[in-house]
Point group: C2
Chain length 240, copies 2
């Protein structure tokens, strides 16, 4: 049985403008690989309602699970929760359970639960809250979409809450071999190897360093013995 | 007049598996911002023909220009050129101009232009070659899609060839202010400011450092004087 699939939607102008380099995608990709969920697509869209709604619908239809990051804070540019509600035709308002979490937190901190902060309690009807041990304001799960914060420490904490609730597959194993020859010399034998090991995914990732060309060959699959066998053949083909 | 728009399609299993962290997206985002082209969406898809073809069609329809990175080398997993041809219904084969570039290069290098390397001369009918000063194998432009290599040094050289051929807009200017208060305290006055400066984009990017919360407020637009005015108001709202 093929592994479950996932997609990620990163919401935020700051990455598209080049101001910030996304960190959450790389983190999530690694975590999903460990539990045997295949990350099939990532999209990065701006803080634009139509773009967010369209991407959520498309990804939610095509993948088992969708993770979003960004746009659930208290400021005017945080529109993710409302967009998710719109994508699924759910109603949304300040919800009592989320408000209670925030009220207790700001009371302890001696701050006011003002109108802006109350925006973070806007949760679609029917959604399940995702715990935020870092800064309290919750994420939520609606249908197959997990809506999480963009701040990396909070995003990672929310991933840690959500992952154990998902059904994973066989963990994806991989081995890699660095070959110090141009891809053009490697490609023929590598294609032949890939044709013999149809259950493995064999990728070639070229690099250039100090003027010399080479490639990292990565063999991935769920059967460790098969990966071992293919890697042994590969190493014999290209002795150092 | 709004600035021209662009999208980027990153092709490669290695980023989705978490093995590699993409560098090209961040680079392109910065270069486009400098010349006044708005990067509106980025997609990352796996080395899967249907996924690539679908993404190219969708992005090419909705944005003025599309940039792709990855999948144009000589190995069996390099299928981008054929997918781009399929997306536009163009035929594709080894093309004489590209073959001549490769033949001269490998002759100089004393290597063989074998069948694998010839794959890099597969260029769709009607496409214009993109110069590759680093490793010769060209990229190409078909319709509004610029197809470029995934190796960062080559990708960057190709971006440098392509960008001067595009019509840019007014460069996007930005200023940012770091405010050491939680977003919940900032959000109300910030929303009021954003409502008064409708031509500017005002974003709030929260962070958490050493247990304290804060946010970087970024004001973007094409009118420097307006950005100055909004930034002066913002600084007065939140004196240190």
């Amino acid at each position: 049985m093929p592994n479950p699939t996932a997609a990620m939607l990163v919401i935020g102008d700051e990455i598209l403008s080049g101001r910030t380099r996304d960190a959450n995608m790389h983190y999530l990709a690694g975590e999903l690989t460990k539990v045997g969920i295949t990350l099939g697509e990532v999209r990065i869209v701006s803080d634009d309602a139509d773009a967010i709604v369209g991407a959520v619908k498309s990804l939610s239809d095509r993948f088992d699970t969708v993770f979003t990051s960004g746009g659930i804070g208290p400021t005017h540019d945080d529109i993710t929760a409302d967009c998710i509600a719109r994508a699924f035709g759910a109603s949304i308002d300040v919800r009592d359970d989320a408000r209670a979490l925030l009220a207790a937190h700001y009371k302890r901190a001696g701050s006011e639960l003002n109108e802006a902060r109350l925006r973070m309690a806007r949760i679609p009807d029917g959604a399940k809250l995702i715990d935020n041990p870092v800064s309290v304001a919750p994420g939520f799960t609606l249908e197959n979409v997990h809506v999480m914060a963009g701040v990396p420490s909070v995003f990672q904490a929310m991933v840690a809450s959500v992952l154990p609730t998902l059904t994973g597959g066989a963990p994806l194993l991989s081995q890699s071999l660095r070959i110090n020859r141009g891809e053009g010399d490697i490609a023929g034998p590598l294609a032949a190897l890939a044709q013999r090991y149809t259950e493995l995914s064999i990728g070639s990732y070229p690099f250039q360093k100090d003027g010399a060309f080479g490639a990292n060959i990565v063999i991935r699959g769920t059967d460790g013995a098969q990966i071992d066998a293919a890697m042994t053949e590969l190493a014999a083909l290209f002795p150092e």
